[in-house]
């Protein structure tokens, strides 16, 4: 498609992570001149600064300095994956303030590629129940789509991402297009056998992860290769062994010649044209020069991460939309959700002393949801799944300072790997709640002039009951499997900590109660789409990233048809 004369670009995509990268790829491959704006700093795939640094080349052997945490990473460090090796992939908290009306841990990426660079790569399809849950139990807005609407789009994105997994034929966890699974180890097989025998209806399977266990031409032609089991993914991976926007979608977009990618671009507003009733473009601040720029396009895709997208949409005000573009209903910013997290168990598996492995498994195991599937069984609604695995740490790492012994015998004892440890943690589905919301502060702004976001999100009673069961059921399964020293945990954890935040611009059928229609399209502003987590009307209990991508690809396909037929 030739760039329309009246516009700078055919399409603008805000954000370059899971959703934005995929939107860019789809638009570029369909021939649209596409601008991607990302507030992060540039990142160069294949040139990750700490990727090959061993501990002894790190100033503090990989331990972060407490002063640095206090000064720059006081929020990020409470989340997942921040270390001395990865900290530069996370934002500086001091420079990027927000207001915690209620405690909320907002993890954000500092780089192009967004959280796709630092994600945990777990990739599961939603099931039929997930899309029906809101309607069934009355919490939240009914999704305007069902599993069957999305299934072909999972089929479409999975081969490109590259997901390793086993075929299980489970209703509660639909199979996808898989590469060979990462095999379970001897202890994982033993625990699996016990769970499936002692707890009928429960399954334990290899984690489904976006790692190339057997790269296909679609990966190799982008320069991606086999996962090397380094399990240091958050530093970046020059092999492209795990999927990130930077190793996958963005190079695919770039090779079409249709991509313009602008980093350091803090998008502040989607511009609204009252004459056409459409979005005309974007206003952004170059965070390096401080300059404000305006760019125009025929269609705008918001993929700036759930809260980032909401912040921009709420700041996009006009006479027609004083509370944010497309927000006549007032639902923008409502129903913010994040998975219930912070409960599980671990234990020691005796024996198997001559069993070991080569490589650090970047996946592990998954126990799909088994609660409240056919009927309501528990004192809470919906359910959760477990992730985890078995491994042997070095004894010095496993026991640290509590290990006694000195001299030759101490050294020699440390040559043997530690005992097999098996652990699980869980992610559970939160109930959508109208009162869980984010909004903008009336006057406080960041250094570039963006109004600060206020979070007012909390877990409720259903989540507390579910969390207790997450721990109790884990303890029961681990004990039954013969694990020793089984220790359950149920830690208080603020929302945001799961880094699976969703909602706020929910899809729905009714423009009075939802922000987007069944195509991730604004009910009111036809050329404005939201395809990141903000679009979600509920959160399932599985990790969301591949669903972001499937919905994004589906929405671009729809936008393409609308653009071609001149509707938008």
């Amino acid at each position: 498609m030739i760039k329309t004369k009246n516009y700078d670009f055919d399409a603008i995509v805000v954000g370059s992570g899971m959703s934005g990268g995929y939107a860019a790829k789809e638009f570029c491959e369909k021939g649209y001149k596409t601008l991607v704006l990302d507030r992060g700093k540039p990142i160069e795939h294949g040139n990750y600064e700490t990727e090959f640094k061993p501990p002894w080349e790190m100033e503090f052997r990989g331990k972060m300095h407490s002063e640095e945490i206090k000064e720059k990473y006081f929020i990020q460090k409470k989340g997942h994956g921040v270390s001395d090796y990865t900290k530069h992939h996370f934002i500086n908290d001091l420079e990027n303030p927000y207001i915690q009306g209620k405690p909320y841990l907002w993890t954000r990426s500092s780089k192009v590629g967004g959280k796709s660079v630092i994600w945990s790569r777990q990739s599961y399809r939603w099931n039929k129940l997930d899309f029906e849950a809101n309607q069934k139990d009355g919490h939240g807005i009914d999704w305007p789509i069902r599993y069957d609407d999305l299934a072909p789009w999972y089929d479409y994105v999975e081969p490109f991402i590259g997901i390793s997994g086993s075929y299980e034929n489970l209703d509660e966890l639909p199979d996808g297009q898989f590469l060979p699974p990462i095999p379970l180890n001897v202890v994982e097989r033993q625990v699996k056998a016990s769970i499936e025998t002692n707890f009928p209806g429960r399954k334990m399977i290899p984690a489904r992860v976006a790692h190339l266990t057997e790269p296909q031409p679609i990966h190799l032609e982008l320069g991606r290769g086999q996962c090397q089991s380094r399990n240091q993914c958050g530093r970046g991976c020059s092999w492209g062994g795990y999927y990130s926007s930077v190793s996958g979608a963005l190079p695919a977009a770039k090779r079409t010649g249709n991509l313009t990618l602008t980093a350091n671009a803090q998008v502040q507003e989607v511009l609204y044209d009252s004459k056409t009733g459409k979005a005309s473009g974007i206003r952004y601040v170059d965070t390096v020069s401080g300059e404000t720029n305006i760019v125009t396009a025929r269609v705008v895709f918001m993929c700036a991460s759930t809260l980032g997208t909401l912040q921009i949409l709420m700041n996009s005000t006009s006479d027609k939309y004083p509370d944010g573009i497309g927000n006549t209903s007032g639902v923008l910013g409502r129903y913010i959700m994040d998975h219930v997290h912070g409960a599980g168990a671990n234990g020691i598996m005796p024996g198997h002393r001559d069993s070991y492995y080569k490589g650090r498994n970047p996946g592990g195991i998954y126990i799909p949801r088994f609660q409240n599937i056919k009927e309501q069984q528990s004192d809470y609604l919906r359910g959760y799944g477990y992730q985890g695995g078995a491994s042997r740490s070095t004894r010095v790492n496993a026991q640290r300072a509590n290990q006694t012994g000195i001299g030759k015998s101490f050294k020699e004892a440390n040559r043997e790997p530690g005992s097999w440890k098996f652990k699980v943690t869980s992610f559970g589905e939160v109930l959508p709640d109208f009162n869980n919301r984010v909004f903008l502060h009336a006057s406080n702004k960041d250094q570039w002039g963006m109004p600060l976001l206020i979070t007012n999100v909390a877990y409720g009673e259903n989540e507390a009951k579910m969390k207790q069961d997450m721990m109790d059921s884990a303890v029961a399964m681990l004990k039954a499997a013969g694990l020793k020293n089984v220790r359950g945990y149920n830690k208080p954890m603020a929302p945001g900590r799961s880094i699976h935040e969703m909602g706020g611009a929910c899809m729905g059928r009714d423009p009075k109660t939802s922000y987007l229609n069944q195509w991730n399209q604004s009910h009111e502003v036809a050329n404005l789409f939201v395809t990141d987590g903000a679009a979600f009307s509920s959160v399932s209990c599985v990790n969301p990233s591949i669903t972001f991508m499937a919905l994004t690809a589906r929405a671009v396909d729809y936008a393409d048809k609308q653009l071609k037929s001149g509707i938008i």
Binding site: W56, T394, R395, A401, I406, N414
Partner: protein, 182 residues
Amino acid sequence: MGNLNRREFIAGLAAMLGTAAMTPGLANAVNIGLTFKPSGSNIIFSEQQMMLVARIADIIIPATDTPGAIDAGVHLYIDHIAANWMNKQESNRLLAGIDKIDADAKAKYDSGFLALDNKIQIAIVQALDDNLAQEPAYKMLKTYTVTGYYTSKIGMTVELNYDPIPGPYKEIPLSDVGKAWS
């Protein structure tokens, strides 16, 4: 390291430790240790404390068929961590703990720790280690000794098996590789 230059430090360490305490690779070890260049200049240990830490670390992880703590520069690592990574309270606790080990030796044997017979030094450290939970200063020193050693190049690549690019994850018998991955 105060006013000591490198040669004086090595000479001083050798003299203090005495030939009996010289582990096979000591001279080389000290050299390796001294090639470690901490980024900050405010190195916190006195010479006395540095040598004490080196000796205790070497008792905890001696050179055997593989190099030990001094070879891996563990004493320099701890000095660097104490000076540049710990907060004031932690480093003061560590320094006081090191001095106390010396003071306790003086009280009991009428001689500083470093001048004691090798066997007595080991017995002192063994006693502290047997009582690990009740010896917070020693426990701290041991923690950093162990961390320093097993995150050093020697600890990771010579003592244990270093495998930075393993390739596809697979099960193997431990006997195939003999010892733990670092």
